[in-house]
Amino acid sequence: MSALQQYAILLGLAIGAIGVAASLYAFSRAVGSTLAEPGKNVPAASGRLCREPAWARYHAHYLGYALLFLAFDMEMAYMYPWAVVFKEEGLVALLDMGVFLAILFLGLLYGWSQGALRRH
């Protein structure tokens, strides 16, 4: 099977999932319709009607982690190609990647020491 065919199958799987969902929705619709009633479509808030929208500027207290992640995440891009040729390249690969990861780890340590790794 060529790679393109495989992707086509995966795409088909995704479309199939959409189809299943759509048919379930259609079935549910066929059983009956939803009646609009007062208060029904207000988001549930443990027994009180709370009509204000919840969309506000949200304070993510983990933003220090998030910023570190953005940078740290990139190391994965290099690690996979490295991993598959690790055995044939031998010691060079270990040392090379060791240096790379050590550099990144330093960054993590710096972030840690400066208090990026905590709830803000």
Binding site: L63, L70, L108
Partner: protein, 174 residues
């Protein structure tokens, strides 16, 4: 089939990219960017760059999600409930954007790429990753280590700039 996929995902990427600046909901904007990048990833797959494509699809999901949270933090009306317009010099930008598209497309169309080509078959995906790995550890080792240093620099810069300075410093900074 390849041409179809390239066209389809290319179009999807463009449509989502346009949606980024067409909506007033920040969440939609960030997610549109995300799906634009995902479509690009799929485009890479169609171009038989499997590793890069999957990597793009994966990286952008988390990165753009983080983009989403920061947008929600910093924009005045993240839900877009007020329908506010947050742009300026629209006309100029539109002209510049269109002009750029024209120019670059023209270059793309009138260059005789065939003469530059050296090989028309890509290796199997499995082989590609290996080649890329060898490239990383061989010729491009310096580039790769430089990337490491760059990431380190970015991490340090990010932490230094973003992590809260104690209250007494903050006052005279502004």
């Amino acid at each position: 089939m390849q041409t179809f996929f390239i066209g389809f995902f290319g179009l999807a990427a463009i449509v989502f990219a346009v949606a980024v600046f067409r909506t007033s909901s920040m969440m939609r904007s960030a997610l549109a960017l995300l799906f634009s990048q995902t479509a690009l990833g799929a485009l890479f797959l169609a171009l038989q760059a499997e590793f890069l494509g999957v990597l793009q699809i994966m990286m952008m999901a988390t990165e753009m999600s983080i983009m989403a949270i920061f947008m929600v933090m910093f924009m005045m009306d993240p839900g877009g409930l007020g329908g506010m317009d947050m742009s300026h010099q629209k006309r100029l930008s539109m002209i510049a954007g269109l002009g750029a598209v024209m120019l670059v497309s023209a270059i793309a169309a009138y260059t005789r790429w065939q003469e530059l080509a050296s090989l028309s078959q890509a290796a199997a995906a499995d082989e590609q990753i290996r080649h890329l790995g060898r490239e990383l550890l061989g010729r491009s080792m310096l580039v790769f280590e430089t990337a490491g240093i760059t990431i380190l620099t970015a991490m340090i810069a990010t932490t230094a700039v973003a992590v809260k300075v104690p209250a007494e410093n903050a006052s005279h900074e502004s």
